[in-house]
Symmetry: C2
Subunit: 335 residues, 2 copies
């Protein structure tokens, strides 16, 4: 890399099915030029997130990237040059940069990296967008109460693990669902879930009958698909149960969105289906961090990260995430 070069990952073609590494291209290009009102940043940590797959199918409410576009990604970055009123050279900020080393931004969607004795990478995971999703999804949308039984899918991921830990902190019971013994063991041993169902080898329906015979008060849905259908149609919601629609990874790789659960069983249990969209809570980030950073600093939040080093490996890492083979918050560390 020369001083004037950049590196980035761009989309090669419209995707169909599970992403393959050659759907993306790692390339070098010129460093972007700073204009008035902008910051130039160098990324340090890049976030890989399942919602980007939905974006790539045009099935998300944010803009669909086109072939040749840099892949969208949030990052932790250092300001290396600034013509911006607020952010100065040397500041560490969190912002949308896409999967590249250098990016310019007008700073509209940027915020300072949280203070406190916490690793910077957590600003993309348990103390970032996924953590906030769990927090406001549970406190605000699901109206979590002590004594509730909470079920969450993708339990070892950054949203799911935070959902379980918030449940436990608030005096609720937490049951996770994850794929494989490694993820399930971690959820129980480290994130202190009461139990975790391995959907790859166990029947979610049968295990829920054993673990929550009176139903779950909250199902925090990070997956959609079969698990959502089982919870609703298998009548696993307790009276006045809430399904929090948060992620739909089960369908992001599919060409056509599959049918959902028959909704009839919601009548008997007065169950509600409620969406959680973290962008609606941007103005409450401080409230979240004021609460969650002390949890973290006192050693009470477990988290795991699945890190690859070097942007040239980002595409393969994203594909691994979309096959469900990641273990924890999936990140790219820049060299």
């Amino acid at each position: 890399m020369t001083n004037n070069s950049n590196e980035r990952v761009v989309l090669v073609r419209d995707l169909s099915g599970t992403p393959q590494p050659d759907d993306f291209r790692y390339e070098r290009c010129a460093k972007p030029t700073l204009a008035a009102g902008q910051v130039l940043v160098e990324t340090q940590w890049l976030s890989l997130d399942p919602y980007v797959r939905a974006l790539l199918s045009g099935r998300h409410f944010l803009r669909q990237p086109q072939p040749g576009d840099v892949l969208p990604a949030k990052s932790v970055a250092r300001v290396v040059d600034s013509r911006h009123a607020v952010f100065s050279t040397g500041d560490h900020i969190v912002l949308e940069t896409g999967l590249q080393r250098f990016a310019v931004s007008n700073g509209d969607d940027a915020w300072p990296l949280h203070a406190g004795h916490v690793p910077a990478s957590t600003a993309l995971g348990i103390l970032g967008m996924p953590g906030m999703t769990a927090y406001f999804g549970m406190i605000d949308v699901a109206q979590l109460k002590a004594g509730d039984t909470v079920l969450v899918s993708a339990a070892s991921g950054p949203v799911g693990s935070m959902v379980g830990q918030i449940a436990r902190r608030k005096g609720a019971r937490a049951i996770g669902i994850a794929g494989g013994p490694k993820k399930c063991d971690w959820a129980v041993r480290h994130a202190r879930f009461d139990a975790c169902i391995d959907y790859k080898i166990e029947s979610v329906d049968e295990r829920l009958r054993e673990l929550a015979p009176r139903g779950v008060d909250i199902y925090f849905d990070n997956t959609g698909g079969d698990i959502l259908n089982t919870v609703v149609m298998g009548r696993h919601l307790a009276m006045h149960g809430r399904v929090i629609l948060c992620g739909l990874i089960a369908q992001y790789n599919l060409k056509d969105a599959p049918r959902g659960p028959n909704l009839g069983p919601l009548m008997a249990c007065r169950g509600k289906i409620l969406p959680m969209v973290v962008y609606d809570y941007e103005d409450r980030r401080e409230e979240f961090l004021r609460t969650a950073i002390p949890w973290f600093e006192s050693g009470q939040l477990a988290y795991c990260e699945d890190i690859v080093t070097g942007l040239e490996h980002a595409a393969a890492q994203f594909c691994k995430l979309m096959r469900g083979e990641n273990f924890g918050k999936t990140l790219v560390r820049m060299t």
Copy 2:
């Protein structure tokens, strides 16, 4: 009929598919005997309701009737003998009697027929359970606001027609969906819907794009099935739209409950799915009647009834309802 005889309609066999008249048997039997604490009533109007079909499949949260049981039905009835503390001979009450002329009841689920200058039959329709369903579904569950666009299926039925009329009274726009020109014309001309889509000959999806290009704020779902799927998956919900799950007539005749809509589109519009179960509002009947009876008495509520006279015709009338061939609130008038 002798003085000691009764007539009734009983279930012959477990149902499969659309009910046939010979699934039921009209028969004469002995008049029931009054015990302490009970009333003996003679029914005058009997209500036929789609939810009874769900009951007959064991797919409702109330008890499933067995072969030989009297078919469940609410009725307007006159007390002909009483050993009850509250209700006296000559009182007119509304209660669950089943499809029969004479019934005894301990009065737990009975209430006095509403006063006011209104026909008794409306206590089973627009001023009864269906009217209350519409009222609390709209005011309480859907949180109707002036300026909302409201969509309702089964628009000429007692729930749907009341939903539309409540919407209009509160300054909202009302779009109905019904089967056939007769029902649609009635909804627009008499119940003052702004428009009514004939789902038998029109594309609900296309018509909604024309009639509500910015989406509907409330979809009051009396049917489930294709219409529910079209509203959700066709992205016809406006931002913060609410789907009120109320009736599922599209699936009551089916052996297996069909899959519902993919729920992904709810994320973009922050749409909620909320159940409405009228039994939860029993203690607010007075509030409903205090509001709705004056509407009726001032001539501002349109309603239509599909009446058959004589209990021997009740089974055929119920089958007609379950084929969607009724026009308005479906009733049996006793001779």
